[in-house]
Subunit: 137 residues, 2 copies
């Protein structure tokens, strides 16, 4: 009886550990990172106007970073500020890197009201923008 | 005594499972994809000369794609050709997206002999290039 109880406890612990493992794995690995699966990347570069304040720039960063919470078609999102030592940045200081799973999702994103609102808030501070999209190989 | 032995067995099983879990975790998920861990992205855009032939362009694509096999500091690599409908690409047709784990690794890559050789092969066909690097947020 003691062994049976301990067996059940052991099985429960093992099963719990496996369950935890599977759960963590699934949560940590977004579908778009599955090896070999092509995704649609959307690369956006900004150069702000010289008179844009630090607060203006931070406001744009935060507004862009809020879009994935509003537009579910954005499957992955990251961004950062340029630190290349090569001097080939043509003045661009910010890179935003979005991932879609289809051209249909991009077609939903581009005219999306929340994207348009962001564009309106961005406009007054923007000197230039560059966008390229590609299916990842 | 029985409880002590079973305790040791239980501890051993649990520890083994944790070991397995950590091992599988590391194997299944490249370090650069660990959630919340910043990586150094290196974004390279090319516009080829008008007189670059399809073979010239393909040669550059293949030569660039061969670099991760030669330079271990390149932790991740993908590329693709622009298909943005927005008309904000400024003529850039190719995006290469490299990942480093440190600025030291980038400092090894930039002057690496294989990178330099690639640059020499690329040069005659290149109209313009743009590079931004960022730590992903």
């Amino acid at each position: 009886m003691k062994y049976q109880i301990l067996g059940v406890v052991l099985a429960s612990v093992i099963s719990g550990l496996f369950g935890l493992k599977i759960g963590e794995h699934a949560a940590a690995k977004p579908a778009e990172e599955v090896a070999g699966e092509e995704v649609l990347r959307h690369v956006v570069l900004f150069k702000f106007k010289d008179d844009a304040s630090a607060e203006d720039v931070q406001g744009v960063e935060e507004a862009f970073a809020a879009l994935p919470g509003k537009i579910e078609e954005i499957r992955d999102f990251e961004w950062g500020t340029n630190n290349s030592p090569e001097g080939l940045d043509q003045g661009f200081t910010h890179c935003f890197f979005l991932t879609f799973h289809s051209e249909e999702d991009r077609a939903t994103y581009l005219p999306h009201p929340d994207h348009k609102l962001f564009g309106k808030a961005l406009g007054p501070h923007l000197d230039k923008v560059l966008v390229v999209d590609y299916w990842s190989k």
